[in-house]
């Protein structure tokens, strides 16, 4: 007979449940005081504001794991995620560089970026409806000055998203390479 304790333990052992329990526990730890501040303030001192994109993806991943995986599979297949990640890396390299081209500067008067996003939506919104909604939310939060930044890029993505995306690419790329080697 399955007791409530057994049911909890069995559920907690499921990989996608376990990962979420870790994340919720980590979030709870962030409220522990350390000196004059809670731990989150130390983390915030390093990461600053996360983009709305990161927060939305995080909460969708947390609350709707199957929907999240289905969405990634449908709208962000491996090749597209790889292109996205490489674009982010290139963006940060140029933004922190010393040459005359600074892509970050375009985010303060974001007309070029808005035109680019609109063109993408015209082209891809049917195939990527969730991404389209996500971009719309980012723009709305930018319009409301939801973050301390005045730069549109900071509402679209951030270094934490780039790092997580990069980590998420490691395993699929390794298995992709393994399959190619075997064939």
């Amino acid at each position: 007979m399955m007791t409530p304790d057994n049911l909890f333990l069995r559920t907690a052992r499921l990989p996608y449940v376990r990962a979420r329990i870790y994340v919720v526990a980590l979030a709870a730890v962030m409220f522990i005081p350390w000196g004059d501040l809670i731990l989150w303030r130390y983390v915030y001192g390093f990461i600053n504001d996360l983009s709305p994109t990161t927060w939305v993806l995080f909460f969708v991943w947390l609350g709707f794991p199957q929907g999240f995986h289905f969405w990634v599979k449908e709208e962000l297949p491996l090749k597209r995620r790889l292109i996205l990640w490489l674009s982010m890396v290139g963006f940060y390299v140029f933004s922190l560089g010393s040459g005359p081209f600074d892509p970050y500067a375009y985010g303060y008067q974001p007309w070029v970026i808005l035109a680019g996003l609109s063109a993408w939506v015209v082209w891809r919104s049917r195939a990527a409806p969730c991404l389209t909604v996500l971009l719309g939310m980012d723009l709305a939060i930018f319009a409301l000055h939801g973050l301390s930044s005045d730069n549109l890029w900071d509402y679209l993505f951030d270094p934490v998203l780039m790092i997580v995306l990069g980590i998420s690419l490691i395993r699929p790329l390794m298995s992709h390479r393994k399959i190619r080697t075997q064939s």
Binding site: V133, G136, W153
Partner: protein, 403 residues
């Protein structure tokens, strides 16, 4: 049907909101004083007799560095540069960071006030590390360069803070005062970098544009070292950012406006080998900067201050010797920065370990010039002089401040 178009509608709403609320600033134009007012001010400055005096600011801590100086201007905020004429004595405010040593946890920002014909008032601690952490909602490891920018009726305080790492991990914050620096509003962080907002610092004052926005020279130290130019609206929001691309590593741009569109910038040379004062120019009010050839002024990787005097010449305070910061001098240019002449040595020492550095210059509304600088890392010193004193240099290599 609605389900099919829902994503596009959401995007369109977001796009529309972004377009409506996005600011479209005017084409930049440097604010210039009215010609008659400028001519009157030039005559007034030239009429002051030759004089030089110096004094030390209060020393509440064992170490002090990176002073900034501004004149509290009476009047209302706009239009910019319209200062009310009054008979009040000149009121200066200086700020610096002080503590047990640079970068220590006990470093705070201090402020002192000076009224003409009086001595400096006791220093006040205006920002501690804990105070900054509370206002900015994050841990602050250390505080750095403060910078005052003045306009009629309002003072702006920009300051550097670091949450993790060294100075390359800096970010800038802004506070304002409408009572001449007696009280400061809670500070806010300015986001200027996409990578964890790392590495933007301030040192030299900004210049006002005709639409009331502020052009602020800043610099970047993470991976690369270069100057940058921010355009901020009156509430401190970033309107634009432009890089100052240079062939060498440079820091701490000091900008002087020549006319409505042109400005020049002297930069600290942080590159390897023989260092000289680096130079950049803009011909479109800061929208783009071009590297000029380095000036033939040695620069031992140290801060430079530069202002335009009322007589049209440029005045620079720097350490024009190779290797160290044990001589602080004034140089002057009458051809918009192309050539420079040493006019006065303010202070020098035979000991290479002595330091007279991080100068800040202003010319007050009466025409007197004020210089504050780090004195031996133990305190801040204030020197004041007139154009006539500069015009009649005597022996330029004799220090003005007696040891």
């Amino acid at each position: 049907m609605l389900k099919r178009w829902f994503p596009t509608i959401v995007f369109a709403v977001g796009l529309l909101a972004a377009i409506i609320t996005a600011t479209l600033p005017e084409r930049p134009q440097f604010a210039e004083p009215e010609k008659t007012a400028a001519a009157l001010a030039a005559t007034q400055a030239a009429a002051l007799p030759a004089r030089f005096a110096w004094s030390d600011l209060p020393r509440p801590t064992p170490s002090a560095h990176a002073a900034t100086l501004a004149e509290v201007l009476p009047g209302t905020r706009l239009p910019v540069l319209k200062v009310e004429q009054d008979n009040e004595p000149v009121h200066l405010v200086a700020a610096w960071f002080g503590g047990s040593r640079e970068g220590a946890a006990d470093v705070s920002l201090y402020q002192s006030d000076w009224y003409a014909n009086a001595s400096w008032l006791p220093a006040r601690e205006i920002m501690t590390r804990q105070h900054a952490a509370d206002e900015l909602g994050r841990n602050i490891r250390k505080l750095g360069n403060p910078l005052f920018v003045t306009e009629p009726g309002r003072l702006h305080l920009f300051f550097v803070s670091v949450s993790y790492g060294g100075w390359a991990g800096s970010a800038i914050n802004r506070s304002t005062s409408t009572d001449g620096g007696k009280s400061w509003k809670p500070s806010q962080r300015i986001v200027t970098s996409p990578f964890f907002n790392l590495s933007t610092l301030v040192r030299n004052p900004g210049v006002w544009l005709s639409d009331g926005s502020l052009g602020l020279p800043v610099y970047h130290e993470f991976i690369n070292k270069h100057g940058e130019w921010l355009r901020l609206d009156p509430e401190g929001r970033v309107l634009a950012k432009n890089r100052m691309p240079m062939p060498r590593a440079t820091l701490q741009p000091a900008v002087v406006v020549l006319d409505g569109q042109r400005a020049v910038s002297a930069l600290r040379d942080a590159g390897p080998g023989e260092n000289q004062v680096q130079w950049a120019e803009t011909g479109d009010a800061g929208r783009s900067w071009q590297a000029g050839s380095a000036r033939t002024i040695p620069n031992p990787n140290s801060a430079v201050a530069m202002i335009g005097l009322r007589d049209g010449s440029l005045l620079m305070a720097c350490n024009p010797i190779g290797g160290n910061r044990n001589q602080l001098s004034l140089l002057r240019s009458s051809d918009q920065g192309s050539t420079w002449t040493l006019v006065r040595v303010i202070e020098q020492s035979a000991d290479d370990r002595d330091e007279f550095s991080y100068p800040a210059l202003i010319q007050d509304r009466t025409g007197e010039v004020h210089l504050v600088y780090t004195h031996l890392r133990r305190g801040i010193r204030h020197a004041r002089f007139t154009e006539a004193w500069l015009n009649n240099p005597g022996t330029p290599n004799v220090p003005a401040v007696s040891p």
